[in-house]
C-alpha cells in the first residue's frame, strides 16, 4: 500500500472541500421550524384489559379539562390560559401557546365509562380506560360429543 503524506502547510483541496461540505450541511441541521401538530399530543398504549392514553398538557388547571367517554369514543376538551398581561410587562419571547383545545379519539374497543380514571402529574395527563366487560373476548370451550 502506498501512502502519500501531505505536508501540513500545503493547501489541500480535499480538506477544503470537506470543510465546505460540513459548512453547507450544518445549515440544514439548524433547529427546524416547529411542525404543526394536534394539541394536546397523545400517546396510546393498548393492553388486553384496558387502554392507557397519555398526553402532554403542561401548565393547565386539571379543573379546566373536560373528559367524556361515550362507547368507544373519548373526547378531551379544555383551555390553556394565557398569561395575565400586567401593566409594565414587555415580551422577550413568546413560544408557549394558549387557547382552547378539543380532541376526539376512537378507541380500539368499547370502554366501561364508569371505571375510567384520569390523573394529571407534572403536566402529563394519564387516562386509564378499562375495556367494557361485555366487549371482552370470551373463550368458548368445545364440548366433546358424548
Amino acid at each position: 500500500m502506498i501512502t502519500i503524506e501531505r505536508p501540513s502547510w500545503r493547501w489541500d483541496p480535499w480538506k477544503e472541500m470537506d470543510r465546505m461540505q460540513r459548512e453547507v450541511s450544518s445549515i440544514f441541521t439548524l433547529p427546524r421550524p416547529r411542525r404543526v401538530a394536534s394539541f394536546p399530543p397523545l400517546n396510546i398504549h393498548s393492553g388486553d384489559e384496558d387502554v392507557i392514553i397519555t398526553s402532554e398538557i403542561p401548565g393547565i388547571d386539571p379543573a379546566d379539562v373536560d373528559l367524556t367517554v361515550t362507547g368507544d369514543t373519548l373526547t378531551i376538551k379544555g383551555t390553556r390560559k394565557p398569561h395575565e398581561v400586567k401593566e409594565g410587562l414587555t415580551w422577550h419571547r413568546r413560544e408557549r401557546g394558549s387557547g382552547d383545545f378539543f380532541r376526539t379519539v376512537q378507541l380500539p374497543y368499547a370502554v366501561d365509562a364508569g371505571k375510567v380514571q384520569a390523573d394529571y402529574v407534572n403536566g402529563v395527563l394519564k387516562i386509564v380506560l378499562p375495556r367494557a366487560e361485555a366487549d371482552k373476548p370470551r373463550k368458548i370451550t368445545v364440548k366433546p360429543a358424548s
Binding site: P31, V36, I44, P58, G59, R80, G88, R96, G97, G99
Partner: protein
C-alpha cells in the same frame, strides 16, 4: 402587535445532535418552549417541560449564561403495547445569554404542572430610572 396569541398546535422541537459534543445518555433532548417577560424589577421565564418534576430540574447561571435542564423519567406500561405516538419523551435543555445583571442570590424557581417558572430580580444598579428633564 403582530402575534398576540400563539397557536397551541406546535410540535416539540429537538436539540440538534450537531450542537456541541454528544451526550453520554442515549436519549432524545427537546428544546422547551419558553415565554420570557420583563418588567421594571424582574425578568420572568416560563418553560414547558411536561414530564419533569422539581427534582429532575437543574438551573445554572454561569457568567451570563442561564441554562435550564430537566431529566424526565419516561413511564413504561407493562402489559401494554404503545400503539400510537404523537409525542416523544426525553430530556430538556436550553440556554440563554442574559445581557443584564441580576441578584444571583434572589433568583427563584418553581416547577408546577410541568411548567418551570423562574423569576430573576434585576440588580439595583441596572434598574431603569427615569431621568427628569428640567426645563432650562
Amino acid at each position: 402587535m403582530e402575534d398576540t396569541k400563539k397557536n397551541l398546535n406546535v410540535e416539540k422541537a429537538q436539540v440538534p445532535e450537531t450542537a456541541g459534543a454528544e451526550r453520554t445518555k442515549d436519549r432524545t433532548v427537546f428544546i422547551p418552549a419558553v415565554d420570557i417577560l420583563e418588567d421594571a424589577n424582574n425578568l420572568y421565564l416560563y418553560a414547558d417541560m411536561p414530564g419533569a418534576n422539581d427534582k429532575g430540574v437543574n438551573i445554572t447561571l454561569e457568567n451570563d449564561v442561564l441554562t435550564i435542564e430537566a431529566q424526565v423519567d419516561g413511564v413504561s406500561f407493562e402489559k401494554h403495547n404503545t400503539t400510537y405516538t404523537e409525542y416523544g419523551i426525553g430530556d430538556y435543555h436550553r440556554a440563554f445569554t442574559l445581557n443584564e445583571a441580576f441578584e444571583r442570590d434572589k433568583i427563584e424557581a418553581k416547577m408546577k404542572n410541568g411548567v418551570l417558572s423562574i423569576v430573576l430580580p434585576k440588580a439595583e444598579a441596572v434598574k431603569t430610572r427615569s431621568i427628569p428633564i428640567k426645563a432650562g
